[in-house]
């Protein structure tokens, strides 16, 4: 039986973030939160392999209580168990403190119910760091393959997995042993349509909530702000650029406008016809 674990994050939908023009602060109110898109594909891949091999998918997430809705979304996609790791001691965690909590949680799950493969999205769209997944892999001592686009083979008997990963230069096909950890690109799997039973199950599903004390007693000095080597020193809004010249086709006519723009490009020496 296959046991997959997926680490997910609920994130603000960054495409909808607005800045208060007066204060320059983020307007968090009314910004919808979503399941991090890469994580959704990671869940889809885990569920796909569960259907092929038989077994189960466990979801974990560290976050505020509202994260329940993203965990439900994973249940709707076919995951079986959800664990929310939530307590105020965890807040303010950077990637190092986050990977600590997630890896200790996974260790506890793994002792009860051995895990074959851990999935993460390649990065979260709010922080874009791509550090938490690999950090968890290193802490657990599991072989880690980032930027996975395809799981080619998954052999529970031979305890091996063959993964295709995408790099800037080419795609690499890598074999490693189980248990392993992969971080996923969107190509890893299509988001499935929920089956009716999964949909109904997810509606009232309540994930288990793990705190800083139970069932794992975390060392407090490694959590949240205390456990984070990095601190935010200041936050500013991006500088405003001086607005350049804007030409109107409607006023100057098409040919003249284009000619003027090309002349400016060539005057600036950024392109020449040669």
């Amino acid at each position: 039986m296959f046991h997959a674990l997926v680490g997910i994050k609920q994130v603000p939908d960054t495409t909808n973030i607005r800045i208060d023009p007066e204060t320059g602060n983020l307007i968090r109110q009314g910004v919808p939160t979503i399941l991090n898109p890469y994580d959704a594909h990671a869940v889809a891949a885990a569920v796909e392999w569960k259907h092929k091999l038989g077994g189960k998918v466990t979801i974990i997430s560290m976050g505020p209580p509202g994260t329940v809705s993203s965990i439900r979304e994973c249940i709707e996609m076919g995951a079986d168990r959800g664990i929310l790791i939530s307590a105020r001691q965890f807040s303010g965690a950077d990637t190092l403190a986050t990977s600590f909590v997630l890896s200790e949680t996974i260790r506890a799950i793994h002792m009860q119910d051995p895990i074959d493969l851990i999935f993460f999205g390649k990065q979260a769209i709010d922080g874009d760091t791509a550090q938490v997944g690999p950090g968890v892999g290193v802490r657990l001592g599991f072989p880690t393959i980032t930027y996975a686009v395809k799981i080619r083979e998954l052999d529970l008997e031979q305890r091996s997995v063959v993964v295709e990963r995408k790099t800037e230069r080419c795609n690499e096909v890598i074999r490693t042993s189980l248990p392993a950890l992969i971080t996923c690109e969107k190509d890893i799997a299509e988001i499935p349509f929920a089956s009716l039973p999964d949909l109904i199950y997810s509606l009232t599903y309540e994930p288990e909530v793990w705190t800083a004390e139970e069932p794992v007693k975390f060392p407090i000095e490694q959590l949240g702000i205390k456990g984070s080597p990095t601190t935010v020193y200041k936050v500013t809004t991006p500088e405003k650029h001086a607005r350049g010249e804007v030409l109107q086709v409607r006023e100057a006519g098409l040919e003249a406008t284009v000619q003027a723009a090309l002349a400016k490009i060539m005057d600036a020496g950024v392109w020449e016809a040669a």
């Binding site: 800045i19 980032t146 500013t236 086709v249 406008t257 490009i265």
Partner: protein, 351 residues
Amino acid sequence: MTMRRFWVFIEQEEGKVHPVAWELLGVARRLASEVKDELEKTRDIAVVEGVLLGHNVAGLAEEALHYGADRVYVLDHPVFQHYLNKPYYTGLVSLVQKYQPEVFLIGATTLGRDLAGAVATRLGTGLTADCTQLAMGEVKGSDHKLLMATRPAFGGNVIATILCRSRLPQMATVRPRVFNSAPYQPEAAGEVVCETIPVDAELVNAQILEFIQNGDSRVKIEYADVIVSGGRGLGGPAGFDLIKELADALGGVVGSSRPCVDAGWISYDHQVGQTGKTVRPKLYIAAGISGAIQHKVGMQNSDFILAINRDPHAPIFDIATVGIVGDLYEVIPAMIAQIHAQKEALHVEER
């Protein structure tokens, strides 16, 4: 007297150094110079050093000296022939523990990101990803300057400056093209130091079975001089044919904003922006791109930005050097025709 070491990971694959390494050597040199005032008081020495892993890479280490490294540490062994996470992070961690650098910069490439996260976790230190500004600055409560690592967050809506106050090294990744390359110096001073680490079966926990070359699908837009990018205003995937035609006329490459990639009109390799690539071409043409902050952070350092958009209020016009308010399906064909006419005229002149 202590050595304040500013380290740069010299990323190489197939015997070629990724240009981001030379960009980072330039940054490291500047950071080292920013602590000069402190050195005068403490009599410490600041040095810029490269770290290079690979097999048969002595020549590359020499090259790094030409780009301004005072010293390059090399781990040369068959196990480092192709990048694999565990051998590489094990090697780097061992060198960091030996030499205790103050700052460690790594390129935010797929390889560099994979590596940096593992190294920082192993060392239990702080890592700031995708920095767009780096400086050594005075901070209350610290008796020496700290690395101020600045990066966009929340899709580029805010700019955050991050510190790593009490652990070393202070690590940061930087995307290609955010900074200019260090100058190549014909005369290189400095030395290459060969290092070794114990290599056993435990070190290699994965095996590369195959490399799949993807032909033209890996578009290198980061280092192009001219980029023509299309956005949602194209209205559909076919719009990229026109974008390509203009890019070809200008000798450039095709870029894209995120919505087009999300919609499947063009592959991710073309995506410019916070979740795509950072570019700084001489000429960037944004056609049908509204200019969401997440796109701007990826291209605002271009030398010249031409925006073409029907909406006169599109935010792209705020950062454009020159903007054209008009229908891109009229403007671009006219532009292509005029470019061809110019080339033709030159051709005639030459004859």
